[in-house]
Amino acid sequence: MIGLIISLLVVVGLVVFLALSARRGSAPTAVGSAQDIVGAREALDHLQKGLLPAEFVERMYDRGDAEYVMKVAPREVQKQFIAERKRIAIAWIERVREEIRGLWHFHLRESRHHEAMSIRSEIALAFDFYSLLLACRILQVAVRFRGPYSVAGVVHTTMAAAARVCQASERSLGMLTPAAQIAHEGDDARVAG
């Protein structure tokens, strides 16, 4: 019986991957293309400077504002405050998730071309990325049902993991820094001009 179950599981796995590869097709992109590097650099900047700084995250999930509103504001305002905070928290997590996915796709497009790629770090990084995306999804559900203040502890742990992924991506980008700088400088010059 175990033999039969194993056989059927293998077949199900094969059929799933055949179906997935039929559904997903992607146009291969050039390694280190300027558009890719600039996109990844921007995603990294958004994460590191805009979305992940500790003071920003702490402020968003801080109970201080909520406690003040609960103390002085009428019931309608309290309700609206909590609803707004929840909406902002969900939108923020979604944004972090999107930027992380952008970085991950950049990493995959680059690493598939590198023969010197370390399999160990590649597997570890894949684990980090997927667990982070899953954590973001769980956080969104938790915020939706239990409010933004019930998940503050988990948010800090998740953001620490996100910061680790950012560091890894920064190292990846570091390998392509000269090209990235040229592209960036070009863009800056155009903006300034």
């Binding site: 033999g3 059927l8 796995g13 997935l20 291969p28 023969e115 399999i119 590649e122």
Partner: protein
């Protein structure tokens, strides 16, 4: 041989001949040499077995001989699919090879361990008593290798292309049908034999149809994956250069008009 049996047999030979003749016309045998060797072997076996009496010992011997050869060549086809899918992506190729080697050593290690302990904990096969079980196990390993290749291609967002996707789908479908057929045959025994007798040839005929459709078009040999963004970047560079030239020219225009 009943009508369905004859239809499957002659239909299979016809499709195999069509695939082989088409490959000569389009020269696609140069791109997939192992696959076409496999196809030629299957064609030869079908024609040879057709001339023998199905109840004779010569037929049984010939059948198992050709079956062993085609299963081994099937592994070659898998290597060809893996190589062709990942040839332009050394990083992805490295990961796929690592996973394939890990699975290979896992299977061999498991077999050595079970034979040393005289006990097979998952009871996948008792090869000495059931030849079906051996075929099923070999097909399971083929299925795992193909799954690894597809998983790596999906993970790294590598497009297979029409011909390669057709090869993978046709082979994957046939392997899946073979595993199910042999596994159920091994489990249910003689009760399942009438179904198993037709199931595998039907699956094979469908796979031949997939291969013929996928390989009908001329296969373009390419050394590098299409890089639309390289062209895009190049166009951007050209546009920027033109813009700079226009700027420079506009500065000189007043001088020219004097």
């Amino acid at each position: 041989m009943d009508f369905l049996g004859k239809f499957l047999w002659y239909g299979g030979i016809g499709l195999e001949a069509a695939i082989l003749l088409r490959s000569l016309w389009t020269s696609s045998y140069l791109r997939f040499p192992i696959f076409y060797t496999y196809m030629a072997c299957v064609f030869a076996s079908s024609v040879t077995l057709l001339t023998l009496d199905p109840n004779s010992e010569a037929y049984a011997k010939s059948f198992w001989y050709w079956n062993a050869v085609t299963i081994l060549l099937g592994y070659g086809v898998l290597v060809e699919i893996m190589h062709r899918t990942l040839v332009d992506y050394p990083g992805a190729d490295r990961l796929a090879r690592f996973l394939a080697i890990a699975v290979f050593f896992g299977v061999v290690g498991g077999l050595l361990l079970s034979s040393a302990l005289h006990y097979n904990p998952v009871a996948i096969a008792n090869w000495t008593h059931h030849v079906n079980a051996l075929e099923r196990d070999l097909r399971i390993v083929q299925a795992v290798f193909l799954t690894i290749t597809l998983a790596v291609a999906i993970h790294y967002r590598i497009a297979l292309g029409r011909a390669l996707a057709g090869l993978a789908f046709g082979f994957g479908f046939y392997v899946a049908v073979s595993v199910v057929s042999t596994a159920l045959g091994y489990y249910y025994g003689k009760k399942f034999e009438p179904i198993a007798k037709e199931l595998q040839p039907i699956g094979y005929l469908i796979s031949l149809g997939i291969w013929l459709a996928a390989l009908w078009q001329t296969v373009k040999v390419r050394s590098k994956p299409p890089n639309p963004q390289v062209e895009d970047d190049y166009r951007r560079v050209v546009a920027m250069t033109r813009e700079k030239l226009r700027e420079v020219r506009s500065r000189f225009m007043p001088l020219e008009s004097r």
